[in-house]
C-alpha cells in the first residue's frame, strides 16, 4: 500500500476563523486504493478538512492537494476527479433523485445511465420522489449516489453512513471496497469507530483541529484488548501474574483472577498453565475501547 500513488494530501493545512482555530497544521496523505476513516468528535475539524480538500474553503496556511493539483486554485480540475458527500445532504427540494442525478451527470458531462440503475438498486434509493418528502436516510442514499457518479478517483464522504439502516450500510461498504480495489482513494469521516472499522484500512483521529494519530486497522486490532476472567481450583499466591507483559488491571479475589491483556495472550496462558484452572473466559474488547485507550494516551501528552 505504501508504494501506491498519493491521491490527496494535506500539508500543515490550517484554517482559522477569526480567533477560532478550526484546523491546526494537519498533515495527512491518502493513497490510491486506500479507505481512510477520519475520526473525531463533532466540531473536531473533519468537515473543515473535507471542505478544504474540495476547495470550498481557502486555507489560512498550508495546502490541500488532490492528484497533484492545488485544491483551492485548481478546484474545477480537482472536482472532475472527486466525488463529494456533504455532511448534511440538502438537495433541491422539488427535484427527485432521478432529476438530481441527471443534472449532476450532465454537469459532469457523463452518459448518466451508465451504472446508475445498478447503484440505485444496491443503495435502495427512492428515485422518483421529491427530496422534500424524503427521510434523512433516503436523502443520504441519494447523496451517496450523486457522490459516486462518474467513477471518481477520490471520494470525500462526510459522515456517509449516519442515518442509514445496517443493511444499506453494509452494501455501501461493499461498494466502497470495490471502488478502493479499483484504485479509488476514499476518505470517510465519522465520530464513531464502529461505523468505519469494517471498511477502513487506516484511521486518522482528529480532535480540536489537531491530528492526534493515524493508525492502521491491523495495528489497532493487534493492540486489541482482551478482558480475561480465570477461576482456579485454589487461590494462587498474590502477585503471581503482575509481571506478565501486557497485563493490566489485575485483580485477584481468592480463586478468581480478573485482568486485561493487551496484544498477544500467550504469556498469560503459559503462566496460567502452572495452576489448575476450572474456568476461563476471555473476550476481545471492541475496537472502540482500544481506540479510546490509545486516544486517551495521546491526549495526555
Amino acid at each position: 500500500m505504501t508504494d501506491a500513488a498519493v491521491v490527496a494530501s494535506a500539508e500543515a493545512l490550517t484554517k482559522r476563523y477569526g480567533r477560532v482555530l478550526a484546523l491546526d497544521r494537519l498533515t495527512l496523505e491518502m493513497r490510491a486504493g486506500e479507505v481512510l476513516g477520519f475520526l473525531g468528535p463533532n466540531g473536531a475539524g473533519k468537515t473543515t478538512t473535507l471542505r478544504l480538500l474540495m476547495g470550498y474553503l481557502r486555507p489560512t496556511a498550508g495546502s490541500a492537494r488532490v492528484l497533484g493539483l492545488d485544491a483551492w486554485t485548481d478546484r474545477v480540475a480537482v472536482h472532475a476527479r472527486t466525488g463529494y458527500l456533504p455532511g448534511d445532504v440538502r438537495l433541491w427540494p422539488r427535484l427527485t433523485a432521478r432529476e438530481a442525478v441527471g443534472h449532476v451527470a450532465r454537469l459532469r458531462g457523463l452518459d448518466h445511465d451508465r451504472g446508475v440503475p445498478d447503484l440505485a438498486k444496491r443503495l435502495d434509493v427512492e428515485l422518483d420522489r421529491p427530496f422534500r418528502e424524503l427521510s434523512k436516510g433516503n436523502r443520504q442514499k441519494a447523496g451517496l449516489l450523486l457522490a459516486l457518479l462518474g467513477d471518481p478517483r477520490l471520494l470525500l464522504l462526510d459522515e456517509p453512513t449516519s442515518g442509514l439502516d445496517p443493511l444499506v450500510q453494509q452494501e455501501f461498504h461493499h461498494i466502497l471496497r470495490e471502488r478502493a480495489e479499483a484504485g479509488t482513494a476514499v476518505m470517510l469521516s465519522s465520530h464513531v469507530l464502529s461505523e468505519v472499522e469494517h471498511v477502513a484500512d487506516r484511521v486518522a483521529i482528529i480532535r480540536s483541529g489537531r491530528l492526534l494519530m493515524t493508525e492502521s486497522l491491523a495495528s489497532l486490532r493487534e493492540n486489541a484488548r482482551h478482558t480475561v476472567e480465570v477461576r482456579f481450583a485454589s487461590p494462587p499466591p498474590p502477585g503471581t501474574f503482575a509481571s506478565i507483559p501486557g497485563i493490566t488491571d489485575v485483580r485477584l479475589d481468592g480463586p478468581v483472577l480478573r485482568c486485561t491483556m493487551q496484544g498477544v495472550v500467550d504469556p498469560l496462558v503459559k503462566a496460567l498453565a502452572r495452576y489448575r484452572v476450572l474456568d476461563l473466559n476471555s473476550h476481545e474488547a471492541d475496537l472502540e475501547e482500544t481506540f479510546l485507550a490509545l486516544y486517551g494516551q495521546e491526549d495526555r501528552r
Binding site: 471542505r51 470550498y56 474553503l57 474545477v76 472532475a80 456533504p86 449532476v104 454537469l107 450523486l146 457522490a147
Partner: protein, 272 residues
C-alpha cells in the same frame, strides 16, 4: 476540457425548470394587472376632472406618482404612465427580480444545493453567469408578457398604444428588473447572505425611485437624478415618448458590472 463543454447551459436550464411556477405566477400577475387597468379605462377616458385634480396636486405628489411629473391623464399612455409605469409596474418586477436574484447564489447556498452543483467540475464564475442568464430569460418572459398584455388590451379597449411605445415600456420594466436583480445576485454571490442580498437590492431600488421623485422637487437632490436607474428608464415616460437608449444601455452596463464584481468576490471567498 470536454466536461466543461458538455455542461454549458445546464445550470441555466435547471434554474429555469426550478423557477417555472414562480415565473408563471408573476407573468400572470402582470397580465392581470394590465387587464384590470384596461377594463377601467373606458370609465376614466374623457373625465376632465381627473386631469384637473392631478394638475392641482402639489408637485411633490405628482413626483411620487409619476416618473416625470408631466403626464396627460386624458390619454391612455398618460393613464397607464401613472397607474402602471409610475410605481406599481417597476415595484412588481423589482420584487420578482430581487427574490429570484437573491435565490440564485445565496439562496442556493443556504439551502445546500450550491455545494452539490459546485462539487461538479464547474467554475464558480460559470455558475454565476448561467444563473444570471436564467434571470435575464425570466425577466424577458415577464416583460414580453406585459408587452403582449398591453398590446392585446390596448386593441380590445381602444387605447391605441403604438407597438414601439409598448416595446419601450416593456424594455424599461425588464431592464429595471435586471438592474435590481443584478444587485441581489451580486450581493448574494459576494456575501452568501440571502437577507443581505434582498435587503440591499430593495434599498437600492427604493433609493433609485426616491432620488427621481425628490429630484423633481428639491434642488439639492436634482443633480443626482441622472444616477437613478428609475429616472434613466422611466423618466422619459416610455409609453409616451419611448426609451432613451443611452440611459437604458448605461443601466444595463452598470448591472453587468455589478454581477461581474460579485463574481470576482464569489470566486475568492469561502462557501458558507
Amino acid at each position: 476540457m470536454s466536461t466543461a463543454i458538455a455542461s454549458r447551459g445546464e445550470i441555466t436550464r435547471q434554474m429555469l425548470r426550478g423557477g417555472r411556477r414562480a415565473l408563471a405566477a408573476w407573468a400572470s400577475a402582470f397580465a392581470a394587472l394590465i387587464a384590470l387597468y384596461a377594463v377601467i379605462w373606458p370609465s376614466i377616458r374623457g373625465n376632465a376632472r381627473w386631469q384637473e385634480l392631478f394638475s392641482t396636486l402639489p408637485q411633490t405628489y405628482r413626483a411620487i406618482f409619476t416618473a416625470s411629473g408631466q403626464l396627460d391623464l386624458g390619454t391612455p399612455a398618460g393613464y397607464l404612465g401613472i397607474e402602471l409605469m409610475g410605481f406599481l409596474g417597476p415595484a412588481l418586477i423589482a420584487a420578482y427580480a430581487i427574490s429570484t436574484g437573491a435565490a440564485a447564489i445565496a439562496g442556493e447556498e443556504g439551502q445546500g444545493g450550491l455545494e452539490v452543483t459546485l462539487s461538479a467540475p464547474v467554475a464558480r464564475g460559470q455558475v454565476l453567469a448561467e444563473r444570471t442568464a436564467a434571470l435575464v430569460i425570466d425577466l424577458a418572459v415577464v416583460a414580453i408578457t406585459a408587452g403582449l398584455a398591453l398590446w392585446v388590451f390596448s386593441l380590445a379597449f381602444g387605447m391605441h398604444l403604438g407597438v414601439a411605445a409598448i416595446a419601450a415600456a416593456a424594455a424599461a420594466l425588464g431592464i429595471f428588473g435586471f438592474f435590481t436583480g443584478a444587485v441581489a445576485i451580486a450581493v448574494g454571490a459576494a456575501t452568501g447572505s440571502t437577507a443581505l442580498a434582498r435587503g440591499l437590492a430593495a434599498l437600492v431600488a427604493v433609493a433609485s425611485y426616491l432620488i427621481n421623485a425628490l429630484a423633481q422637487v428639491t434642488t439639492t437632490v436634482k443633480p443626482t437624478r441622472p444616477l437613478s436607474p428609475f429616472y434613466l428608464l422611466f423618466g422619459n415616460e416610455p409609453l409616451q415618448h419611448g426609451l432613451r437608449s443611452a440611459g437604458a444601455l448605461g443601466v444595463l452596463a452598470v448591472s453587468l458590472a455589478l454581477v461581474a464584481a460579485g463574481g470576482v468576490v464569489f470566486a475568492r471567498r469561502d462557501l458558507a
